[in-house]
């Protein structure tokens, strides 16, 4: 099923024309309404009437998270506050939160794009959507909520937390779709096992998971343990929240709602746009946003764009599953490491829980990476020898994949909290100096 045939299957040329027109309108709005952008455009000697089409995008200035912080809270808004009907704030994964605002039309667009991603995930009117994303300043809960209502499904706004009660209600109310972070989905699966709830008593069939990077091996694990199809969605509050992009049933990349959010891939060092298909930093321009339009916003997320038409019939450009943020990246003795790589290794081994934490420290001017892994009941042996063999095996696997030496430490189960929010995967003590 396709929610909006017109845009989701629009031929490439037509889409580019649409994007060009919307970009021109956007530049006019921000030039006259946002002093920050007017200054930036003037510095480059660009006037709104200079923008002729989408090809002019690459000439325009970038926006960074830093810019949002400098203009905290409302200085980048392009409409009077009387037009703003909703505020959200980023979860502040890295530093201070950033504030975003929506006009009535923005909320309507948001519901529309979320309706599209839910439909592409296979959600229908008859579904019961268990929304276990947090409600509140975080865009996850309310974003999925409005889109679900637009689709006409039955929304269960359970929000996050109180897992046992959630499972009870999931069973009693017959939830068919679970929307939450992938780590919370895994936590739910564990709790289902702990409470010996028979899977047949739950009617779940689809998972809508996003808000943090997760690997394909984690997807397999969640799909097996919950017996669902796990769909990856992508979004960030600065752009709109959930609804920026999502997988379809084929799970081969995430379709970007590019009539609203124009993607580009740049080299994070040179800031040059990279040739089609190359991997780099994802940048979005929110051409239809009224409240907080952002020009070439640098997401910090690393991905690449896939231009081939998808088997589902959508022509929307796809982005590869995002496996890391440039600011999650750790540089250990000169080697770039993403936490998701370690997660993949642990999941592929299948001999520990996929719950880990990376602790980076510096001893005698040398970076030390310690990987702490939880020992689950099913993997616990009471023989020291076997636990030491396990530790050595994890170390060997990580070292041979990443090419750096690491220290592996086994820790007790549930050492790392995993709730609705984003799990703290990395502690970098080097920065505390």
């Amino acid at each position: 099923m396709i929610w909006n045939e017109k845009f989701e299957t629009m031929p490439g040329e037509e889409m580019r024309k649409w994007q060009g027109e919307k970009l021109r309108e956007m530049i006019e709005r921000i030039y006259y309404n946002v002093p920050f952008y007017r200054r930036k455009l003037q510095e480059l000697n660009i006037l709104p009437e200079d923008i002729e089409g989408i090809d002019d995008l690459a000439r325009l200035p970038f926006t960074t998270k830093e810019d949002l912080r400098d203009n905290y809270p409302y200085n980048l808004f392009a409409v009077p506050m009387s037009e703003i009907i909703r505020i959200h704030a980023s979860s502040g994964t890295t530093g201070k939160p950033t504030v975003v605002g929506y006009t009535r039309r923005d909320i309507a667009h948001w519901s529309e794009v979320v309706a599209r991603i839910l439909t592409s995930a296979g959600v229908e009117r008859d579904d019961y959507i268990h929304v276990a994303y947090g409600y509140g300043l975080f865009t996850g809960g309310l974003g999925i909520h409005y889109g679900s209502e637009k689709v006409g499904a039955t929304v269960i706004p359970i929000s996050a937390g109180n897992t046992k009660k959630q499972l009870q209600l999931m069973e009693d109310l017959g939830s068919t779709v679970l929307a939450c972070t992938p780590s919370y989905a895994l936590y739910l699966a564990e709790t289902i096992d702990e409470l010996n709830i028979e899977r047949d008593r739950l009617k779940l069939r689809i998972g809508i998971f996003g808000a943090e990077p997760w690997t394909d091996s984690m997807r397999k694990k969640v799909e097996e343990r919950l017996n669902i199809k796990a769909i990856d969605i992508y979004g960030l509050s600065e752009i709109i929240g959930p609804g920026v992009a999502s997988e379809c049933e084929y799970q081969e990349g995430l379709h970007i709602n590019e009539d609203h959010f124009i993607p580009e891939i740049i080299d994070p060092e040179t800031l040059e746009v990279l040739p089609p298909g190359e991997r780099g930093e994802l940048v979005f321009t929110t051409v239809t946003k009224e409240g907080l339009p952002l020009l070439r916003y640098r997401t910090g997320d690393l991905s690449r764009l896939i231009y081939e038409k998808c088997r589902c019939g959508r022509t929307l450009v796809r982005m590869e599953k995002c496996l890391g943020r440039s600011d999650d990246m750790l540089i250990i003795r000169g080697v770039n490491i993403f936490p998701s790589q370690i997660e993949s290794i642990l999941l592929e081994m299948g001999e520990t829980e996929p719950h880990y934490r990376l602790v980076v420290d510096r001893e005698n001017n040398l970076d030390i990476l310690e990987v702490q892994v939880e020992v689950g009941d099913q993997f616990f042996s009471d023989e020291i020898k076997k636990l030491e063999q396990l530790t050595a095996k994890i170390r060997r696997n990580i070292e041979s994949t990443l090419g750096i030496s690491v220290k592996v430490k086994l820790v007790e189960p549930k050492t790392f909290e995993r709730y609705e929010g984003k799990t703290l995967r990395v502690i970098d003590r080097r920065k505390l100096d």
């Binding site: 702990e194 009941d377 009471d382 020291i384 636990l387 086994l410 007790e412 189960p413």
Partner: protein, 141 residues
């Protein structure tokens, strides 16, 4: 003759053993024998308790990594050479011991051991007239 020994994974953190024993104590579970195997990073508590199933359940609820392990408890006279004689029997049969711990009360010594093949261990020891102790007996000592 098999005794269900409780094995618990513990990180080397201050207060963790106090917490564990406190939980068992409050649940009215008695520990008859206990040993700790430790490495620089973690330790394993091995203990024979009055109600292993209940202890397992309670510790799981408290998020411990815990399992039940089949062990056997041999008793010998508390005299020089008695343990050597018992071990000789196993050694002749080629049964290797993964770990063991022992204690003595008056005239008797008790040796709790985990071997690679617990059923064969029991069979061999019985054939050689060694005396094995049941869990219930051990708890009443």
């Amino acid at each position: 003759m098999i005794i269900k020994q409780l094995s618990v994974f513990l990180e080397n953190k201050a207060g963790r053993l106090t917490e564990l024993t406190g939980i068992l104590g409050r649940a009215g579970i008695n520990m008859t024998a206990l040993s700790i195997a430790d490495t620089s990073e973690f330790g394993i508590i091995r203990t024979v308790v009055s109600d292993p199933e209940k202890a397992l359940q309670i510790l799981k609820e408290h998020n411990f990594s815990v399992s039940l392990t089949d062990v056997v408890c041999l008793t010998t006279p508390n005299k020089p050479g008695a343990l050597a004689r018992a071990l000789e029997i196993l050694s002749v049969e080629g049964i290797s011991i993964e770990y063991m711990y022992a204690f003595s009360i008056g005239e008797e010594a008790f040796i709790i051991m985990k071997t690679e093949d617990i059923n064969r261990t029991i069979q061999v020891l019985k054939e050689n007239d060694m005396h094995l102790v049941k869990a219930a007996e051990l708890n009443n000592k």
